[in-house]
Amino acid sequence: MRRRLPALVVNTLLVLGALATATPLLWMLSASFMPTGQSNELPPRLLPSAPTLEHYVILFTRLDLARNLGNSLMIAIGSTAICVVLCSMAGYAFARLEFNGREKVFRGLVMGMLIPAQVGMLPLFLLLKAMGLVNTMAGVMIPMMAPIFGIFMVRQYALGIPRDLLDAARMDGASEWRVFWRIVVPLLRPIMATLAIFIFLSSWNDFLWPLIVLSDDARYTLPVALANLSGEHVQDTELMMAGAVLTVTPVMLVFLVLQRHYVRGLLMGGVKG
């Protein structure tokens, strides 16, 4: 018994922790299927008595959230694609290309990571207004297109590429572009995958910036549309839960399917400090 007690304690704590972690998510899911008003009962219900899809129907018909879902998707995919291309090139260059001022520029970028994004948001808004990009998808995507953290991540990984490999190719007369395309990119694939997931998640979950930049509800991303709805429909609990489920499901799917890459990327960035 003495030998089994620690194991019992550890596993019980794990299970309790799992309950505490999962309950909000499970309740959200359950409430989204409850008939209107059922989630506001005493004592609180855990499961719907008669599961219904009516709230999801409302989301897609009257409230047209499919459009916002599409906006979020397009913006997330667009940002991800652009970011992966730009950050891979820059990260590799900072790691393995010799050019004047390389270290200075990189240090400058790292200092930039310390500055909170909110500091530049107001002037950026005014700048985009001058460029006519307010209330556009491009305007929403701009901060995510070349995040400094992305360059940092790729550079960290690219430092592991053996110089000899690159020098050999150069000796054979290959141009830098060819070296990058043919040799480096295949080697960078794992970190590019991780970066892609990061950026997709960040872009999908982004709230403050799209809130500021978008004024047309047809252009809203899903988190902004949800916040907008919650201001209006604060009484409609079940509807709000359906909206929350809709917002959260795509990223949960991406995470579950691509866990390995995401976790690996996190660990690399973290442990190196």
Binding site: A81, V85, N135, A138
Partner: protein, 428 residues
């Protein structure tokens, strides 16, 4: 990697094309921003407008009241304003200062709509620097909703018209309610009742052409002292309107017997109070410090405005005229409970037959608009914060109001400077 580049190019193309997605095609689409319940209901009304005006479509975008102010301003900055919008009349000065609204003088001159069809105080709140910038859509003012049975039992079959008598009535009701009850629900996070008391006392709120705070002046002080005394004497609980569990339940329970609020609650009270109490509540105009004639209230409500940036001003104006027709105003009233702005609509039996609504009609003849400075919304919020400090935080009124005046004067510093510059320019 190739596919990634492909996606990136596709993304760039989509972004580029999205900008070029012009509103091609025949017919005009009007963009109409509306808030709250009005936003839901107006979608029905515009169908008839579309039928009468083939070739014009109306796209209604609903915005919650909590975000409307910001959204309208951000839209202006981003040059993405709609054609026509519902706008709270206390925001008009701000948008006028931005020159965002189309002056309606020329359009009104050719139209059946004119100022005599509207309550004077309400129309006046839409005129900034001599120019009408909005047409009142529905009107709002604050009056007292009360439990007539509880007041009658306390010896007051009718609501008194003078502050001191009103106070005595409230004390009588409170005595009957006992230690756990109150006479009046006066949430410190609503600034409208305090402002209503202020206009009744003749306060101008801002001095020197809206460039300095006047909250320490005797007029406002009188109103504020009366306001603070309601809490001090236990007549009103210091609870915000989102801290009370359910306002209607508490009113039915008798936790409080009166509430200063607006016309939307006519419908809410009717639907949420139990049937047994449907004959036990009434409305009355605000009492005044020196008698019923001095009992003034806020000239509130929302107007329809046309934005300067609209490319379909003619059609937008037609929609404004449509929604201003007395029959449409009545229809709107029936759907939302919002009181019509057109006086002609008030002769309808739906409005004349109900004494509760008559009280609103009475009050609407004694309304005063808020100072028309762009900073007013911010100042009202500040007033609320400072008032809460006195009422809930126990700070002394003297110093707090003086501090409020200093704060407000600081907020108006820019306006002062601009006016001085304009005067200097004119003098040359």
């Amino acid at each position: 990697m190739r596919s990634v580049v492909g996606v990136a190019l596709a993304a760039a193309t989509v972004i580029g094309l999205e900008g070029c997605r012009a509103a091609a095609g025949d017919g005009v689409t009007l963009r109409f921003w509306a808030m709250g319940r009005e936003g839901e209901v107006v979608q029905e009304l515009v169908r008839d407008f579309e039928r009468e005006n083939p070739g014009v479509r109306v796209r209604v975008q609903q915005i919650p009241w909590s975000a409307a102010h910001e959204k309208l301003l951000t839209a202006y900055v981003g040059e993405a304003t709609p054609d026509i919008a519902q706008m709270g009349n206390t925001w008009m000065a701000e948008f006028a200062a931005l020159r965002a609204l189309e002056p309606l003088g020329p359009l009104l001159a050719r139209s059946a709509v004119d100022d005599t069809s509207y309550f004077a105080g309400i129309w006046e709140s839409n005129v900034i620097d001599g120019q009408p910038l909005g047409v009142p859509w529905y009107v709002d003012t604050r009056i007292i909703f009360y439990r007539s049975d509880l007041f009658a039992r306390a010896g007051y079959p009718r609501m008194p018209g003078r502050w001191d008598e009103w106070r005595t009535a409230l004390m009588a009701v409170k005595r009957r309610a006992g230690p756990a009850g109150y006479a009046l629900f006066l949430p410190p996070n609503e600034y409208e009742p305090l402002l209503a008391l202020g206009v009744s006392a003749g306060s101008r709120f801002l001095a020197e052409d809206g460039t300095r705070g006047a909250f320490s002046e005797p007029a406002f002080r009188r109103a504020f002292d009366f306001y603070a005394s309601l809490y001090r004497d236990g007549l009103a609980p210091p609870m915000r309107n989102n801290e009370i569990a359910n306002l209607y339940q508490e009113f039915a329970r008798g936790y409080f017997a009166a509430y200063i609020t607006g016309p939307w609650n006519l419908g809410e009270f009717a639907s949420r109070l139990p049937d047994s109490l449907q004959h036990a509540w009434a409305t009355a105009p605000m009492p005044g410090p020196d008698g019923p004639a001095t009992g003034a209230s806020l000239a509130g409500g929302a107007s329809l405005v046309v934005f300067r940036g609209s490319r379909h001003k003619e059609e937008a104006w037609r929609l404004v005229e449509f929604l201003s027709r007395p029959d449409q105003q009545l229809r709107f009233y029936r759907l939302t409970g919002d009181l019509p702005a057109r006086r002609e609509a008030w002769s309808d039996s739906a409005l004349t037959g109900d004494p509760r609504i008559r009280a609103f009609g009475d009050q609407l003849t004694r309304t005063v608009s808020m100072p028309k400075v762009p900073e007013w919304e911010l100042i009202a919020n500040r007033l609320r914060d400072y008032a809460e400090r006195v009422v809930r935080g126990g700070e002394p009124a003297d110093t707090t109001l003086a501090e409020l005046d200093r704060d407000v004067s600081r907020l108006l510093e820019k306006r002062r400077w601009l006016l001085a510059r304009a005067h200097a320019g004119a003098a040359r």
